[in-house]
């Protein structure tokens, strides 16, 4: 009995309800206060995006017309356009999309379906995640040495495209790996059980199921390549170009380079041109992102 009493005494000492009640108010108040602060911080991101869009639209919309899309760059702001830059971006994609997709999906298939769990596989995997963290400007130095100089491709569509492909390769590999890993094991085993070989299983069972995920990741990666400027500047691509490439060995300029060129000029007119070009770039990116989201939503539930 004495034990029970002493226990009760301790309990009473431990929790003093009056103190708890007194503190309760300030604790709840703090909770609400911090919730407000956290909400404000979250809204800050939205606010920045809003201001950024508003600034770009209000500055650039005046220049954005058919003539702007169809004119060569010019020293006179009212005549200048993004014809060469927009076409250059499209040319660039003709190299980047196939090269990065083939290399990225190939690597992902190898790592997920064929690779044994040994040191070499771990090494490739760690290497890929480190490659994803290398600054884009360093990829520019790689491209400058290997593609522009050693392989003598010059500042061509091919050199720029290969550099960009290597830059986004880690992103595509990781996305494709996740998509392939998400395909249920039973599907593969059912296929093997029916007598299919490994390659048949990969081509006819795994790939069809994984393609939506791969496409989503690939489109997002390509949209990164479209907006990237630094490596192309390092390659030595011209900031001003008045003709279109005729082949993959001709030089080019791309939208972000054109924006960079106009942004770094002091005149207000050129900054408005930059804003107009940014609008075109953003519309392009939003379109690509929407396609990626649509693919993701449409096929997500199937498996």
């Amino acid at each position: 009995m004495s034990l029970a009493v002493s226990r009760r005494n301790i309990k009473v000492k431990l929790i003093n309800h009056e103190i708890v009640k007194k503190k309760m108010k300030s604790r709840l108040y703090k909770n609400v206060l911090f919730k407000g602060i956290f909400l404000l911080a979250t809204l800050f991101g939205l606010l920045v995006l809003g201001i950024l869009l508003y600034r770009v639209i209000s500055q650039g919309i005046g220049y954005l017309d058919w003539q702007f899309m169809n004119s060569l760059p010019s020293r006179k702001p009212e005549e200048a356009g993004i014809y060469t830059a927009l076409n250059g971006t499209i040319w660039l994609m003709f190299v980047v999309a196939p090269v990065s997709l083939i290399l990225g999906v190939g690597t992902a298939i190898y790592l997920e379906e064929y690779a044994k769990k040994n040191r070499f596989t771990t090494f490739i995997q760690i290497n890929i995640s480190n490659l994803a963290g290398v600054p884009s400007v360093v990829f520019g130095l790689l491209g400058l040495t290997i593609f522009v100089r050693a392989l003598a491709l010059g500042t061509s569509v091919l050199a720029a495209g290969l550099t960009m492909s290597l830059l986004i390769l880690p992103v595509i590999i990781v996305a494709a790996q996740e998509a392939i890993r998400a395909v249920p094991k039973q599907l593969r085993e059912a296929s093997f059980g029916m007598g299919a070989t490994k390659w048949q299983t990969i081509v006819r069972v795994v790939m069809p199921a994984a393609i939506p995920g791969i496409l989503t990741g690939a489109i997002l990666a390509l949209s990164r390549a479209i907006g990237e400027t630094a490596p192309l500047v390092v390659l030595g691509l011209p900031l001003f170009l008045a003709f279109l490439p005729n082949s993959f060995l001709d030089t080019l300029t791309v939208l972000p380079m054109q924006i960079y060129n106009w942004t770094s000029r002091p005149q207000v007119e050129f900054q408005a041109l930059a804003a107009a070009a940014i609008l075109v770039l953003l519309v392009l990116l939003i379109a690509m992102n929407s396609i990626a989201v649509i693919i993701r939503n449409k096929f997500q539930k199937r498996l």
Partner: protein, 313 residues
């Protein structure tokens, strides 16, 4: 058909016969090799980066001593004879990165806590895609934003700030890496088991106490890793500083005057016509190598932190 034709033909024999017919160069033999080769491209890329930087940096050190490069306090590559001390460029990079971290860490973490602890599913479904959009805005657009919006505002408030300064690109890089920190930290916090939250709530904690005393400590490895990755991106960021940071390398803690970062120097030289084989040409590789080492250390640190201090539930 006559049943006699099949006498003595077992399934095993049929399989063996089929196997004989299979071509020597079947897809099942070729593809693993082809795929292995594609997987090697990523390894070759890393090796390519390493050897390119190493060889050209070596050529640079034949002209400029390592001692001068590492300890020299002046970076005037275009004067004759040029002086190549990388400290001013590093100081520019660190200043911008520090400002970015001061902006991004509080906002990013607050956003992550709000999304994982307070927000309803609906709010999260609206806000997360917006963060993704912010993360996907090309850096040249942020550069434009820094130069034409943030800098003028700063100059209105503090007239002593120069047109090109460290503050404006620092703030904008902070805005740029905020989604990275917020989204990765939110992932780490969301993966803390609900049971731990409910235990604390059941003992009478407020949501704030749950967030600070239960969720944050449990998710700390992921949070630290996200910050380190953000820092690594800030160090390697190029276009924002090239547009809004200026091109005057100086070794000081002054954030109001023009600076130059390692990345901006590489861009400046690439744009001009420094001939192949000159000291200036090789200097971009030495600077690039230094930059590469900085970000490599950061990335390895992030991986180490997230592996070593990971709490498994």
């Amino acid at each position: 058909m006559d049943a006699k034709d099949y006498q003595g033909l077992s399934v095993q024999d049929m399989i063996a016969e089929k196997r004989k017919k299979r071509k020597v160069f079947s897809m099942d033999r070729i593809m693993p090799v082809v795929l292995l080769l594609t997987a090697c491209v990523s390894v070759l890329t890393t090796l390519g980066i390493l050897f390119t930087l190493l060889f050209e940096t070596f050529s640079f050190f034949e002209r400029v001593s390592i001692g001068e490069f590492l300890t020299g306090q002046k970076w005037y590559p275009f004067s004759d004879p040029g002086s190549f001390g990388i400290l001013p460029l590093i100081s520019g990079t660190l200043k911008v990165t520090l400002i970015a971290v001061i902006v991004a860490v509080p906002i990013g973490l607050a956003t992550a806590i709000f999304l994982s602890e307070y927000a309803s599913d609906r709010t999260r479904r609206i806000i997360k895609p917006i963060m993704e959009v912010l993360a996907g805005v090309p850096t040249i657009v942020y550069g434009f934003f820094a130069l034409t919006f943030v800098t003028p505002i700063l100059r209105e408030w503090f007239p002593s700030i120069e047109i090109f300064n460290a503050l404006s690109p620092g703030i904008v890089i902070g805005i740029m890496i905020t989604p990275t920190i917020a989204s990765l930290s939110e992932d780490a916090m969301s993966s803390v088991p609900q049971a731990m939250r409910e235990g604390a709530l059941g003992l009478g904690s407020t949501k704030l106490e749950v967030a600070f005393k239960v969720v944050l400590p449990a998710a700390i490895s992921g949070i630290v890793a996200s910050i380190v990755l953000g820092v690594s991106r800030a160090i390697g960021e190029t276009m924002i500083v090239a547009v809004a940071g200026g091109s005057t390398p100086n070794l000081s803690w002054d954030i109001t005057s023009s600076i130059q970062t390692m990345t901006a120097y590489i861009v400046q030289v690439s744009q001009g016509d420094a001939g192949y084989g000159t000291t200036i040409y090789y200097s971009i590789y030495a600077v690039g190598f230094t930059l590469f080492l900085f970000t490599l250390v950061m990335n390895l640190l992030a991986q180490y932190v997230s592996r070593r201090f990971k709490e498994e539930y």
